[in-house]
Symmetry: C2
Amino acid sequence: MPEEINRQWLLASRPSGFPQEGNFELNEASLPNAEHGEVMIKLEYLSIDPYMRGRMNEGKSYTPGVQIGEVMTGEGVGVVVESRSSALSAGDHVVTRTGWQEYSTAHESAVRKVDASVAPVSTALGVLGMPGLTAYHGTFDVIDPRPGDTFVVSAASGAVGGVVGQLAKKSGCRVIGTAGSDEKIAYIVNELGFDAGINYKTENVAERLAALCPNGIDGYFDNVGGETTDAVLENLATGARIAICGQIANYNDVEQAMGPRNLRTLLVAQAKMQGFLVFQFVQKHPAALERLSAWVADGSLKYKEHIVEGFEEMPRAFIGMMHGANFGKLLVKV
Amino acid sequence: MPEEINRQWLLASRPSGFPQEGNFELNEASLPNAEHGEVMIKLEYLSIDPYMRGRMNEGKSYTPGVQIGEVMTGEGVGVVVESRSSALSAGDHVVTRTGWQEYSTAHESAVRKVDASVAPVSTALGVLGMPGLTAYHGTFDVIDPRPGDTFVVSAASGAVGGVVGQLAKKSGCRVIGTAGSDEKIAYIVNELGFDAGINYKTENVAERLAALCPNGIDGYFDNVGGETTDAVLENLATGARIAICGQIANYNDVEQAMGPRNLRTLLVAQAKMQGFLVFQFVQKHPAALERLSAWVADGSLKYKEHIVEGFEEMPRAFIGMMHGANFGKLLVKV
């Protein structure tokens, strides 16, 4: 073993509102032991994702929250340094749920081997991992975009949104994205090929959507909720399909935020709104990853990574993401 | 012709908030003439429905609003007093979109003949008409209830809700209804066979739903919106299906009402919410009416009519409905 110490970030206290650095505590543990059928992994990249905010709460969600004093939850990609599995060898790259730490053990059944020759291994946490699969299933299995559709995606420069917009373009849609800076808007239009972008921090989203979508919005992939979603609901086309993927605009609310009662818009448009979790499509993950990998390999699916150096930066990187500071898939290089 | 005058209720002005009697104006017109292919109908029953409130507005909805000075829109059932159609004879009962008036002409292609031997002709405006079809398609084609589901319907003693709950019972669900009086709750439980009812005016709907639905709500047929729907969203089971049929709680709002931002509940429950209009299932109406008629005939589908006597009562009956004064399908006997 190259080191004897396994650094970990623990949940020290539950945030009220936006998380603070004091909600996390750096811990030094001894190295874990790989049991029979397990591998020991030295992490190279750890993923930072919006859903982690929900895990810091006590309340009920779709999976239990992290307990105080436990290692923060999350996925990582790394190299096998010791294998007690016949399926994996030292030197293999794998991705799995590791938590916020430098080393992790995992059972062979819980890891996915990553082929470093297809794309950088970090993509197993992004375009070829959970965010890419979320984009894929939400777009194709929930919204089902059709040629000629007007398609809107929020948080369009993010790890999920950037993929969603490109998949909708591949489906023949006119695609409009919302994001929080002119730089991000320029990126989705000039690099990713979106038809238009709206900077929700400086523009009136409802007015811009009405102008850009005179025949209404047919597909909406929602990563943010809040006022952006209100504006979309006021501009639906008949038969619109909406995928509710994330509601980051409200993840840090201390009291439940209020918004207009607008479900009547669903009735008038005969629209369908569906909340989904990537896990519900687990049977379809292999086929999805195969297609996503082929598109990354042929250059028709672009991605952007925002890599923060240093394990010790995890809390600051996470807090920054909650304020929109990242630009692309946020990763920490261990 | 038995009379020479056709009394009509016109839209005199657009309401701000709840409609008032002064928004309507009684008009005396001469009798219309049936053209080739048309029939002249002497109305016996006129329907009063919540959707009419939307037609009094200027704003965009799924069909255009009534213009000032025009006859109020609505359906009626009556007897053919003159036929210039080879398909219909004097004495036939028909249902069609007539407007709020005593006589109406209609083309043979726009009317549906009513068999008075199956059930009272008034049912063509209720359980065997638009409200019954709305209940049928929303329940079976949108929610798709399954045996063992916990199923909630709002405005459960109404023309739509009462049918919905009975169809869900036929599907093997545990059915809970909300309504606005103890008398209505007693009716849905004792007469219609619901498993439980909640009086939203005197009980805490969220607390009662949580207690009555410990495993969450699988199906929700929403006629009202507002706080009742908020309470349901906080108690969804995984995979819940929600049909948005009406939002009467907000139809008379002058300013857009605010409510909690709760779309995250759809994500956590992987739930589907779909707005629908009965017209989108027009191809399936004949089969639906056949099944509904058979159930009415065998006594397994019960209905309740609230019949107000006198054409002159139309505005007062409509205004009363907006305040929840009716109990069962509201009709005016001309």
